[in-house]
């Protein structure tokens, strides 16, 4: 599954409880849309660490890295080993 799709799937399943996420654009801010709170961020971090084997530093927990599907994909992409 492409990275964007996989991230969208996680967000949809865990923060929208499987509701149709058609209304959620890749660039939409989770904060603006009221999708995620601080405990949600911790769930998101646990998922990223487990699924992609990346180690998140606390200073990574910023909206620039985590606050939309696009930001997540860019952040995860930058942390994954290059082929």
């Amino acid at each position: 599954m492409p990275l964007n799709e996989e991230l969208r799937q996680f967000v949809t399943d865990n923060f929208l409880f499987g509701r149709n996420s058609a209304g959620l654009a890749d660039h939409d801010s989770f904060l603006d849309k009221g999708i995620i709170d601080s405990t949600g961020v911790l769930e998101l971090v646990a998922f990223l660490e487990q699924r992609y084997g990346i180690h998140m530093q606390d200073h990574d927990l910023l909206p620039e890295n985590l606050d939309s599907i696009d930001n997540l994909a860019r952040f995860v992409g930058s942390k994954l080993p290059r082929n």
């Binding site: 929208l16 409880f17 509701r19 995620i36 601080s38 405990t39 961020v41 606390d58 927990l61 909206p63």
Partner: protein, 521 residues
């Protein structure tokens, strides 16, 4: 004294001092005061009269703060509605208090108001932050561009003559009620000024204070951060949320914050982070309320913020704050929520209303000018909590919380008389969640309990039995709730059972449910 004087007096004495920081925007006292004056003129032009209710339904923002003060300046009564409130409840609240105005933004109106605000006939106008774009649904109400009003030099920036006196209502704060419908706590100017004076006294607040608030303005703890900072001529750094804790900590350092109000969930999040390199030498105090901090968290917070005094506090919307523990007492009695505030009397009574001796458990009673006037248009509910005090005509607040005191008069929380759940620092009426669960067609019976949770204090757990022959999954339930309840009210887990445990009299036994929830966790 009226609450809007907090802003007006600081604007007079400290016109160029920074009052409010929101993201990249910084406003000086005079700028903010003049913006609020313009909006007050706009409110009055739209027909807002002394005592009229006007709702603010916005995230933490400069616009929200300016709106609160503008409503007061116009002689009105403000209410701040949690920005995650869904359409049904928004309309219930607006209709319940017959709001004359609504101040919100186009996105929120689009998400919550489409076709619904049509049922809210009391509104004479809606002010919209962010402009009136094409995406704003037609609701039939008069729309006013809030941004234009706040900066419009065509409107007079001068204050209006005072309309309200200090025993008039200043605010309604809607809080969870045992009936499942939210109740509006009525607070006068005098109530708010009294509470703000007591709190800023024991926190020893001063003009140099810079307070970082990530708490919503709909929560009285968040609201008072702004009110109190303006009262002392300090600065508030207002963030929308604590969603990205690293961002909040960056701001704490960059803005040289001196005061940081938290709730236990925020402490739990902070203490999961590696903050070994973090330093905040400017931080003078941290306050905690909503629920007690675990002793271990107290110890680690003090390690993390060595320059800060830590205040454990306790309160309820009906009187704002009840007590605080002087920081030097934290090592002596860490489990205590302290003593009454300055200019307030707090005591414990038995079922007959007689004061009890130390170590005896009873209901906590609060006496002071900070005690609310009652619940909006709910005289019976009001009479259950406001009871005659020692002086003729006086009312004291029976909190519904069970406490005991030690020999030196420090109080200890024992439990609640009702089954209100406290999660993430917010009170949740099980009934309000259960009403939503019962509206799911497949649900035969549903009940909601709070189960212990290291992060949330209590997590909401729904226990459901389904109608025969129907099927429903946990996600279906959570999704249904998320569309109808504020975020913090949505259950964290669902247990499906064949039937709910009952007491001998046929009532649902929450005690038994809590025990079996403990076994499965």
């Amino acid at each position: 004294m009226q609450v809007e004087s907090f802003l007006e007096q600081s604007a007079h004495s400290l016109p160029h001092k920074t009052a409010l920081v929101c993201g990249a925007r910084r406003l000086a006292y005079r700028e903010l005061d003049e913006s609020a004056n313009r909006l007050a003129h706009s409110l009055i032009a739209a027909g807002v009269q002394r005592g009229d209710r006007v709702a603010v339904y916005l995230e933490n923002s400069i616009e929200a703060v300016a709106s609160i003060f503008a409503i007061l300046k116009a002689g009105g009564v403000f209410l701040v509605i949690n920005p995650t409130t869904k359409a049904d409840k928004l309309c219930y609240i607006l209709n319940n208090c017959r709001a004359k105005g609504l101040i919100t933004d186009g996105r929120r109106l689009g998400a919550s108001g489409r076709g619904i605000l049509g049922d809210v006939l009391c509104l004479s106008a809606v002010w919209l932050a962010g402009g009136i774009g094409e995406d704003v649904p037609a609701t039939g109400h008069r729309l006013v561009d809030l941004d234009a009003v706040l900066r419009d030099t065509g409107l007079p920036p001068q204050a209006l003559p005072k309309r309200a006196i200090d025993i008039d209502l200043a605010a309604l704060i809607y809080t969870s009620g045992s009936t499942g419908r939210p109740k509006g706590v009525m607070l006068t100017h005098l109530n708010i000024v009294s509470a703000a004076t007591s709190i800023t006294t024991y926190l020893e607040n001063r003009t140099e204070d810079i307070i970082l608030s990530v708490l919503p303005l709909s929560f009285d703890y968040g609201l008072y951060q702004v009110l109190m900072a303006f009262k002392i001529g300090g600065t508030v750094v207002l963030e929308r949320s604590f969603t990205y804790p690293s961002k909040a900590l960056d701001i704490l350092v960059r803005e040289k914050v001196t005061g940081f109000p938290i709730v236990p969930t925020m402490a739990a999040v902070l203490l999961q982070m590696d903050l070994s390199a973090f330093q905040s030498p400017s931080l003078r105090y941290i306050t905690n309320t909503a629920a007690a901090l675990p002793t271990e968290h107290i110890r680690r917070l003090r390690d993390l913020f060595p320059s800060a005094k830590l205040y454990s506090m306790y309160g309820l919307t009906e009187c704002k704050r009840v007590s605080y523990l002087p920081p030097e007492q934290l090592d002596v009695r860490p489990a205590s929520i302290g003593r009454g505030m300055p200019n307030e009397e707090v005591y414990i009574v038995d079922d007959e209303g007689n004061r009890v001796e130390p170590e005896i458990v009873g209901e906590l009673v609060v006496r002071g000018a900070n005690v609310m006037k009652g619940y909006w248009e709910l005289p019976e509910e009001t009479d259950k909590v406001l009871k005659p005090g020692p002086l003729p005509g006086e009312k004291v607040l029976h909190t519904g919380d069970l406490f005991k005191s030690d020999e030196e008069g420090y109080f200890y929380f024992v439990g609640r008389k009702d089954d209100i759940i406290k999660t993430r620092g917010e009170k949740v009426s099980p009934r309000e969640v259960e009403d939503v669960l019962h509206s799911i067609p497949e649900v035969a019976e549903a009940a909601v309990i709070g189960v212990p949770d290291p992060l949330l204090g209590q997590a909401i757990r729904a226990v459901i039995s389904l109608r025969e022959g129907t099927q429903l999954g946990e996600k279906d339930v959570l999704s249904y709730c998320a569309a109808r309840l504020e975020d913090f009210m949505v259950p964290k887990s669902v247990a499906f059972v064949s039937s709910l445990p009952k007491t001998g009299s046929g009532k649902v036994s929450k005690r038994e449910m809590a025990v079996s929830a403990g076994e499965t966790i």
